[in-house]
């Protein structure tokens, strides 16, 4: 199966089930969860269902394109359902059939894995889904975000597209995947992997990044104070990414690390608190 068919089919599957098909968010982030369509939408009482692909940047995971399994930017397909439907596990399994995974031919397991994000003050309870020993999905019932209890609880399903692609195509390396009929994953992604690995590990200007952290944090706080929550969240995300680059660069000492994480968390909680205080401008999303 072509890499793009993989996410096109999954998006269609969830669209057929009433999800809004959204875009990846245009600010750097490490996971689909950090997209405001998840992080903010899980807060408060309004129902919402959404699905989107999210390119996820994790600077420390870069391997200059030399490791067949690890890249600094991978693609998640994120689905958020609020509230969680009672047959969600079954629906998820049907989505796997939809992309050509014949379940009966595989060892499928839901193994305990409780996701948490200290920077977002968020955590949930759930599983990693293993297919013949390969983790392909994180399945989480959110309990808290931005330090706030969630009611209703949302369920988040995060597919690892590269993993699934390699699984379906028996590929040893994600770079060998065909993105579409004519173009390979390598053609599209290799240069990005090499240059960004060099940047994150060798070339990034640490002093400049530390300065940016201070600036973005200050701006985020200023915006929280004046009630511009969505713009404030942008700056919170920027702080998080800047921290990730500094971490990959080796510029963060161990004790500083905990402090910086705490600072981002404080911003995330400030954003969350601000978000639930202000009523949404538009009427609530029609439930699925």
């Amino acid at each position: 199966m072509l890499f793009q068919d993989l996410f096109l089919k999954l998006l269609q599957f969830w669209a057929d089930r009433g999800c809004v098909i959204q875009m990846p968010y245009d600010v750097e982030k490490g996971a689909g969860t950090m997209n405001p369509e998840t992080f903010l939408r899980v807060l408060g009482p309004d129902p919402y269902t959404v699905a989107y692909v999210e390119p996820s940047r994790r600077p420390a995971d870069g391997r200059y394109g030399e490791n067949p399994n690890r890249v600094q930017k991978h693609h998640q397909l994120q689905v958020l359902l609020k509230p969680s439907p009672p047959d969600i596990q079954l629906v998820y399994l049907q989505s796997l059939e939809r992309i050509g995974i014949r379940l009966i031919e595989h060892d499928v397991r839901f193994e305990e894995d409780n996701w948490e994000s200290p920077t977002l003050g968020a955590w949930g309870v759930g599983w990693q889904v293993l297919l013949d020993g390969l983790e392909i999905t994180q399945f989480t019932y959110f309990q808290q975000a931005g330090g706030l209890d969630l009611d209703p609880c949302s369920v988040e399903i995060t597919y690892g597209l590269e993993r699934i692609g390699m699984f379906l195509n028996n590929a040893e390396s994600c770079f060998d995947l065909q993105w579409n009929q004519t173009t390979s994953y390598r053609t599209i992604r290799m240069r990005d992997e090499v240059e960004f690995s060099r940047y994150n590990f060798e070339a990034a200007d640490s002093a400049l990044h530390f300065q940016w952290f201070e600036d973005f944090e200050r701006e985020a706080n200023r915006l929280i104070d004046i009630g511009l929550i969505l713009p404030a969240y942008d700056y919170c995300l920027k702080c998080s990414h800047v921290f990730n680059v500094l971490d990959a660069r080796g510029a963060v000492s161990v004790s500083e690390r905990a402090r910086l994480v705490q600072r981002v968390r404080t911003l995330a909680c400030g954003v969350a608190a601000g978000y639930v205080k202000t009523p949404s401008e538009t009427s609530a999303q029609l439930p699925v």
Binding site: P68, N69, P83, S84, P86, Q89, L90, L93, L103, I104, E105, H106, D107, V108, R109, F110, E111, E112, N114, G124, V125, W127, L131, D132, G133, L134, Y141, Q143, D151, P152, C153, V155, F167, N170, E172, S253, V254, S255, A258
Partner: protein, 712 residues
């Protein structure tokens, strides 16, 4: 009449490690509930799989027994008038309960004669009771981590998706977390996907579930897995590397297990066995296979949740995943080996030990000093190399391998040291120093391992206590209990005689700039903590609580020495003389307590000693003291106890004839001093007054030891 009751709670996958605790809670709480409701029942059976909690009671009483209740009406004086006819009060009472007055009785109660009747209260049906109790039962279960998922905000371990519940073939109606109990169940999540079927009895439940590819009984899954593992190992001409913990876990990771045997590239066998086994078991839950010589073979066994129909496909998938992981491990090994441990050790300033206690680099500096002190105390050979091991023992924390597989801490350090060509004293010490991790774990084999192990654990314990991080009942994030048990176990296993307080002082001194409490305060907590752990260890060894109490308080500072005393007491305690002595000492202790005495150093005035018995006691105690001291010096505790026992006739005679609490204060004081001296002589060995004679285990103290007994 009795009916069959069974319930199946259908959930999304419950974490394997919670399953047993959850099902036992469910079954125990149900039993308690039934008892409280006075519903008789036969055996309760329970079973669990990741998706189901099943409880079966083949015969449950259909209803509570009927009971009678006395309903009281007006007193007789108000119920009948002068002509002995029923009054309005009596008639009203009768009418209210639908009875005629002559159906009532007059019964003598506490306050006199009252009109009343015996009311028959029919027992409630089990069905009614269960309907009401089952939701409460489910709500009462406790989990280490619970979650919410639906609008009623019910807390449970994982979402509940269906409930099958029948009593005598009929559904027991109740609702919890938005799910109503019904008469249906579901099969295997994949092999019988989305198939719902009706279940009317437990017998049909068993058959239907198997038909739908579910083994709901853990013991069934275990035997299927064990057999399959043995068969597959055998088929490849190899043996299974036993892994009881993994086996226990794997039983609860599937509903229909089978085993698949896969291969990996023999080139990976150049990696250390520890690395390969860890990669296979930790992430992938695979079992390793070994040849007749105990070396690994390039194959693994995976327990999969499926029937064997597509084994080849699953094998290929698992092989691919393992290949990627082993490639990573090989990469880590090759890259890690390029940097010497000495070099890595300097980088430990970037690794935190504990927020307030500094970096790992600082820790290793402390460990070198402690290793030096400990090494000199036990007069170990090769101290320089052992100190080198102490300096390098945490260097592996900077390796990619340990960052990926944290369980391999210490082990990797030892392996890298060996690969580097460091002396085996150094590599063995590093390799072993995390042991023992539990009471069941082995202590290190080499003295180097022993010393670094004790130093490392002690440093962690003392450091934490010095900044007030004392573990509580539920919170022990630094695993200080385990660390302390580790220290004690090593000292006992290796028969090392040291003073904990001396070592503690050395360790505390190294924390003086970071400590938030004084050395004395910290020692109070540390020593108390150590005593508790030591008591625990001795209890596990099979010693009795009173023997333990007799020695731990007094002798804990040198744990091995404490054990020797304990062994001696255990050996002599059943002799009649010893039991009598123990009683006698208890009596003496009580007398001294009552007289407000602390154990003082006042000596006995011989001129005040009266009769034969007093004189004899004094003489014998005086004579025995040097002998006791000698025994203690050579640690002949058995001998010391025998000396103690030899005083029995004299002590008995003393108590028979002498009034300790004499009228004359001088005489009284003198006699108390005499007893004090006697007690003190033996308190150095053990507090024998703690021993409870077998005949009096945990029962009330008898007259001879009671504080109010005469004569004294």
């Amino acid at each position: 009449m009795s009916l069959e009751f069974f319930i199946e709670i259908g959930c999304e996958e419950i974490p394997a490690r919670y399953i047993e605790a959850t099902i036992s809670q469910l079954s125990e709480n149900l039993a308690k509930n039934l008892q409280a409701a006075s519903l008789a029942h036969g055996a309760i059976e329970s079973y669990a799989s990741p998706r189901r909690l099943v409880v079966v009671i083949p015969s449950l009483q259909e209803r509570q027994a009927d009971r009678t209740e006395w309903i009281t009406g007006p007193p007789q004086s108000a119920a009948f008038d002068a002509a002995n006819l029923p009054t309005a009060a009596a008639r009203g009472f009768a009418a209210r309960h639908g009875l005629a007055v002559d159906q009532l009785q007059c019964v003598q109660g506490e306050k006199g004669l009252y009109l009343g009747f015996e009311k028959r209260v029919p027992g409630r049906t089990a069905r009614e009771l269960l309907s009401r109790e089952l939701p409460l039962l489910l709500a009462s279960l406790n989990f280490p981590k619970s979650m919410r998922w639906e609008s009623s905000r019910f807390l449970f371990v994982r979402p509940i998706r269906w409930i099958l519940c029948r009593l005598g073939g009929e559904v027991v109606p109740f609702t919890i977390a938005g799910v109503s109990a019904g008469g249906f169940s579901y099969g295997h999540r994949i092999l019988s996907i989305n198939k719902k079927f009706e279940v009317t009895s437990f017998e049909s439940y068993k058959a239907l579930l198997l038909e739908h590819k579910v083994r709901f009984d853990g013991t069934d899954r275990l035997s299927v897995i064990e057999n399959a593992l043995a068969v597959e190992a055998d088929r490849g001409g190899a043996r299974l590397l036993p892994d009881p913990l993994l086996l226990k876990l794997v039983v609860n990771l599937n509903e229909f297990p089978s085993v698949v045997c896969g291969r990996f590239d023999p080139d990976f066998l150049r990696l250390p066995k520890e690395v390969l086994v860890t990669v296979m078991r930790e992430h992938q839950k695979y079992f390793s296979l070994i040849d007749a010589q105990g070396g690994l073979v390039p194959r693994f066994l995976a327990v999969v949740d499926s029937d064997g129909a597509h084994a080849d496909q699953m094998r290929a998938g698992h092989e691919r995943v393992l290949k990627a992981r082993l490639s990573d491990a090989r990469f880590f090994w090759d890259v890690d080996c390029k940097v010497k441990l000495e070099h890595r050790a300097d980088k430990l300033d970037r690794v935190v030990f504990q927020q307030k206690l500094g970096t790992m680099l600082e820790k290793t500096h402390r460990l070198v000093i402690l290793a030096d002190a400990l090494g000199k105390t036990v007069r170990v050979a090769n101290l320089d190399e052992i100190k080198q091991a102490a300096r390098l023992c945490k260097a592996d924390l900077t390796t990619d391998m340990v960052k990926e597989f944290t369980d391999l801490q210490g082990i990797m350090g030892g392996l890298y040291a060996r690969a580097e060509g460091l002396p085996s004293i150094v590599s063995d010490a590093i390799y072993e120093h995390y042991r023992p991790q539990t009471l069941e774990d082995e202590s290190p084999d080499t003295m180097g391992g022993v010393i670094v192990s004790i130093a490392d654990k002690l440093d962690s314990v003392v450091g934490a206590f010095a900044i007030g991080q004392v573990p509580t009942g539920s919170k022990d994030p630094l695993a200080l209990r385990r660390q302390t048990v580790g220290i004690l176990k090593v000292l006992l296993d290796k028969k090392l005689s040291i003073s904990l307080e001396k070592l503690y002082s050395k360790s505390f001194f190294l924390f003086r700039k970071k400590a938030t409490r004084t050395q004395a305060e910290t020692w109070l907590d540390v020593s108390s903590f150590v005593k508790d752990r030591l008591r625990f260890i001795f209890k596990e060894e099979g010693f009795r609580y009173d023997e333990i109490n007799a020695v731990v308080e007094i002798a804990f500072d040198n744990p091995y020495d404490c054990l020797e005393r304990l062994r001696a007491i255990a050996a002599v305690r059943s002799s009649a003389d010893f039991e009598a002595i123990a009683q006698g000492f208890k009596r003496i202790k009580n007398i001294l307590l009552k007289s407000g005495g602390e154990l003082s150093e006042e000596s006995v005035d011989r001129s005040l000693l009266g009769g034969e018995e007093e004189q004899k006691l004094w003489t014998e105690v005086h004579a025995i003291q040097p002998k006791v001291r000698k025994s203690l010096r050579v640690r002949n505790y058995l001998g010391a106890f025998e000396l103690m026992a030899s005083l029995r006739p004299t002590i008995d005679l003393f108590f028979d004839k002498v009034l300790v609490m004499a009228e004359d204060p001088k005489l009284r004081a003198n006699r108390l001093n005499l007893l004090r001296g006697l007690l003190q002589t033996f308190l150095n060995i053990a507090d024998v007054s703690e021993i409870v004679p077998a005949s009096k285990e945990l029962s009330v103290v008898d007259a001879s030891t009671s504080t109010s007994a005469a004569p004294y």
